[in-house]
Amino acid sequence: MKRIIVALAVFGVLLVAVVVVAVLNFRDEDSVAPVEPESAARTAQLVARGEYIARAGDCRACHTARGGEAYAGGRGIATPFGTLFTSNITPDKRTGIGEWTPGHFWRALHNGRSRDGRLLYPAFPYPNYTRITREDSDALFAYLQSVPPVEQPNTPHALGFPYNTQVSLAVWRALYFRPARHEVDAARSAEWNRGAYLVQSLGHCNACHASRNALGATSGTLDLSGGLILMQNWYAPALTVPGEGGVADWDAQEIVTFLKTGVTPNAWVKGPMAEVVRDSTQYMTDADLHAMASYLKSPPRADEGERQTQVPDPAFLARGAKLYNDHCAKCHGDAGEGVPLIYPKLAGSRAVAMDPPANLVRMVLGGGFSPSTPGNPRPYGMPPFATVLSDDDISAVVTHIRTAWGNEGAMVSARDVYRYRGGLQQ
């Protein structure tokens, strides 16, 4: 008898859990009409607006495989849970979204569910896109229906158990996803509100600029407190901390120039952010970039973490200084002074002293160019040193750079360098 009660209790708890998860998964979901009126006709104006929204949302960067047809999907997104492959969002009827209606598309953006009802993985950033307005969703859909259809079947995701099940995804969504709508803050200017919309929804900035928990969730679209990008080993700096990526003290025009051209006298865009400028922000209007600047200047300042004060061994520093003179000084200058708009200044650079030191190490390992933009069409480049310098050498030279000329960064070990090397293949 007692056993039966226990079994019933367990069953009851499970039933309640299933119901709760199910209910949480269908929050704020409209029913999708099977056939929609043709009222939202695909006017040229709507398509043009949709194309701009696609740029602002940077859809193409993920939904296009390297060397593949635009928007036909197939790009692998490596995560700690396995590799997800982006889907074909061209209007091909069999393999793309040619059979979708604006209602299906809205449900995908707003509720993270596909046309056939499947739950979508949040590598598709619907925790951000849920805030996109219905008008923008319809315009984006009209644009995507206008691009050339490409017949290319989707690649199945390569995820291990239990991440490959809809049940685990439903639980994840019950815990971490809540459909939301963009809310206007009446106390703020229209410009600030537009910026908030662009940063939180379309721009999905916090997909990188926030840390993720063990299940890959951020703490919300307002969180811009920085994070190491999973698998890529680049650090997206905190936009709230002046010593990291905070821009509260920047002139608004400098923020606009940074997003438009990829370079300002004080900052260079590199790594994954170079891709964002290349594919997205350089195409945005000055008004929208000013709006983003207005919003990005406003988040509350957060304190910097306690700095590590381990004094490196003088011989180690001397080795770093010699390597610097041999390999770096030719462009960055004997005292890390750099060359304005050409080679980054290292003395007093916050990118250099930042913790974790991922970006400095990745730059030394892989080198890189800033993106070609109309404002900086022929950038100067830095060579990769991954094959030239050992992990020990790189740890010495970056420690020198982080501690010389008044820089107050912490020591970097060869083990750190080895760890960041892992991102080179991504």
């Binding site: 200058g333 080679y343 892989g366 040193f385």
Partner: protein
Amino acid sequence: MTRAARVSRRSLCASLLALLGAVASAVAAPPKVEDTIAQRVQACTECHGQSGRAASDGYYPRIAGKPAGYLYNQLLNFRDGRRRYALMTTLIDPLSDDYLREIADYFGALDLPYPPHQPVTAPADVLQRGEQLVLRGDAARQLPSCVQCHGQAMTGVAPAIPGLLGLPVDYLIGQLGAWKIGNRRAATPDCMAQIVQRMGPQDIGAAARWLAAQPVPAQSKPASALPQALPISCGVVVQVSKPVASK
């Protein structure tokens, strides 16, 4: 403190600061940076050697003086995943087609001497087989000779077909092997892939060794045209003549 004392202290500070500034600028001369394409592509020459003359390790090939269209195609191939080398792909990924073409044109136009020829040792029968394949092909297996496309002097043909001389044997074997397993591809129709599929490992080794054993002729520039039509249809020739598409 009197006002005069304050002023004099202030001016002392100012002159000290000026002195410090002068010392600092004397110690740290700013880097000399020229507004040239050569300065811009320093990112390439750490691996590909000074002015793209190839590095001594035998892995990174010479890029100086190769047909500009060939170099441009390779940049697109790395960017678009038809060739795979993560460092190279990541490096050029943010650059526009126009800029990649300018970089290719710059290295293609360089006319620099080759280093002294390194002798290659291989058994005589291997070299003989290599010579046969390179100069005459193997009609029985529908293998055209190398020289039919790469030029009688094997120095390539402008704008898109590369020369085969002055390359380390490891590099040649590495590239033919990559084609064989699909790790290196070119624009379709991928003629080189079709040819390599008809070659066995022995053929690849023999052709690569014979090629590496040949000195680069004094006239090392690519030929301007082939005397006859290509024996096989090649996408690379089309790829290079396509107008620049914005990415």
